[in-house]
Symmetry: C2
């Protein structure tokens, strides 16, 4: 039977945090047992809005790879690769660009939203505008069936499949495969400042690589219920980051339910809840941090592993490209 093929990855713009861990990394550790999984370090995509900071991307390739290995993504089960080493990808992107109009790109909801977020104004780099097409190359090159995404990324998958259908129709072929979005059911982890999203750029994240004391300090300073002023006041649990994190990480959900009830009727201080969260997070993150330190001792070995993964990924992508070129009458050799 055909093993499902998964494509996923990250932009190497900084180390990974708890939000990545809950939202995608844990899932990858599970998926690698049943699927053929490709995990991409998207350096080319990261450059589209960091093109003047190449050194940052370069450094974070290694940091993110360490995070992957530390959480248990296994390079024997998962092909971890560097996007810019896969020569088929830019070539497929060029061919796909013929199947999407300028106007369609401009109206992609995900892209529109990100243009606002990134404050590009009138100066949107063309490389950024076309990244949905570049993603289509990523997805189709590996003939991925499944692409794990957040629900804000659904328009990207729709655009990808549109291109797939146009290409297959134009060249009367079945070379390209439509992908299914696998939308994460895990609620998004808020930042430690209470903002809706944990993110590198907001500076409100707990990183997988954070040392014990940094985690403790971040937990201590976490935003909770701003109306929970005195211990005896009733506190709010919904949307309270400390409880959202406990929901996600506390193995003792029974005790957690009791704590929530206590907090809601009043009499439970934030510091007690935070103490519990610190215990829980330290227990979860310590083995990850230790494995990370172990892997970090030999960065050369990690890079070799990425190069090997990239060679393997290249073979797969080149096979797709070969078929696509044949369909396009570009099979000169």
């Amino acid at each position: 039977m055909h093993k499902k093929i998964v494509l996923t990855g990250d932009r190497p713009t900084g180390p990974l945090h708890l939000g990545h861990y809950v939202g995608s990394l844990k899932n990858r550790v599970i998926l690698q047992e049943t699927c053929q999984q490709f995990v991409m370090l998207a350096d080319v995509q990261a450059l589209t809005d960091n093109f003047h900071q190449p050194q940052k991307i370069r450094e974070n390739i290694l940091e993110v790879a360490l995070d992957y290995l530390a959480v248990g993504i296994d390079s024997k089960k998962t092909t971890i690769f560097i996007q810019s080493l896969i020569r088929a990808l830019p070539e497929l992107t060029m061919y796909y660009l013929n199947f999407v109009t300028w106007n369609r790109l401009k109206h992609n909801p995900t892209v529109k939203q990100e243009i606002v977020q990134k404050n590009f104004g009138e100066s949107v780099p063309a490389g950024f505008m076309i990244y949905p097409v570049s993603q289509t190359a990523d997805i189709t090159a590996f003939r991925a069936d499944i692409v794990p995404v957040g629900d804000d990324q659904l328009p990207m998958i729709e655009q990808c499949n549109e291109i797939v259908r146009h290409f297959n129709r134009a060249y009367n072929t079945q070379v390209l495969v439509e992908a299914k979005a696998m939308v994460s059911r895990v609620p998004r982890l808020p930042g430690i400042d209470g903002k809706a999203k944990m993110s590198k750029s907001l500076g409100n994240a707990i990183y997988l690589s954070d040392p014990e004391d940094v985690i403790a300090k971040k937990v201590k300073g976490m935003y909770t219920d701003p109306n929970h002023l005195r211990v005896e006041d009733p506190g709010q649990v919904e949307g309270n980051p400390v409880f959202v994190y406990l929901d996600a990480f506390d193995p003792d959900q029974e005790n957690l339910a009791e704590m929530k009830a206590h907090y809601q009727r009043g009499g439970l201080g934030d510091s007690v809840v935070k103490k519990r969260l610190n215990e829980v997070l330290q227990a979860e993150l310590e083995p990850i941090r230790l494995r990370r330190q172990e892997f970090a001792k030999d960065p050369g070995a990690i890079m070799n592993l990425l190069l090997e993964g990239s060679d393997k990924a290249s073979e797969t992508a080149d096979a797709t490209l070969r078929d696509a070129r044949k369909a396009m009458c570009l099979d000169y050799r």
Copy 2:
């Protein structure tokens, strides 16, 4: 001393005609003696507005290559190659796309004009919009000093050099070389129907591959001075396609001057002038046609020659890409 490097080429969308011959091919035969010349069969670019007709592009790769060889472009002196076989080109294109804004592309005068000509309306393929960036990859990959162009293409070279400067500044490098446009001083050859431009799409061209009788028939049917109704009427020489062609091709320019004077004062019939033009064109085109027929006997050998040229071109382009990637901190290996 550094030999000047020339990059030029054609979109393989149809066989080449007299306009190409006068405007560029003859020049290439001269340039190959003193420069390092790369001539590109731009199949990828041709696909941007012919993506649904890949077979047409494929067939014309061979036709155009035959035209090249027939006019005397020598594969030992000139590297003739197929664009889609040069893997560095799409990759460089992707990186360069970060250095040009969406708005800048939209306002490129050459692109704007061509969008109107090609009746794209609101449905401009993104692949077409970005072709100035793709051309920048073509030019810079070979570190071309000189790019022969028509004056309508000057904004393209300007855009190319803009990207070169941005890239070099951003990565603090001198990897990319600015190119100089070499604007043809040869006046554009009108169509046989008197329209300003000889072109495949207008169906008003004399092809290098046209047989003798087809040339004779096309010359006989040529548009001349519409007010030159009777032989004894004075006729107009300026802008009269028959005389424009004679200016370009007649080796006996003294006799031509006499014919012009005669035509202007009246008494010289169109048929006499056309007879002369037919003689001149047949003399020019016969050896080309014969060489073409000779080369056409072994299409396999021609394709091998293109593949060899493409390998050679790939080496050069890969060296540039390697330097560019190093500047971008993408030198993982």
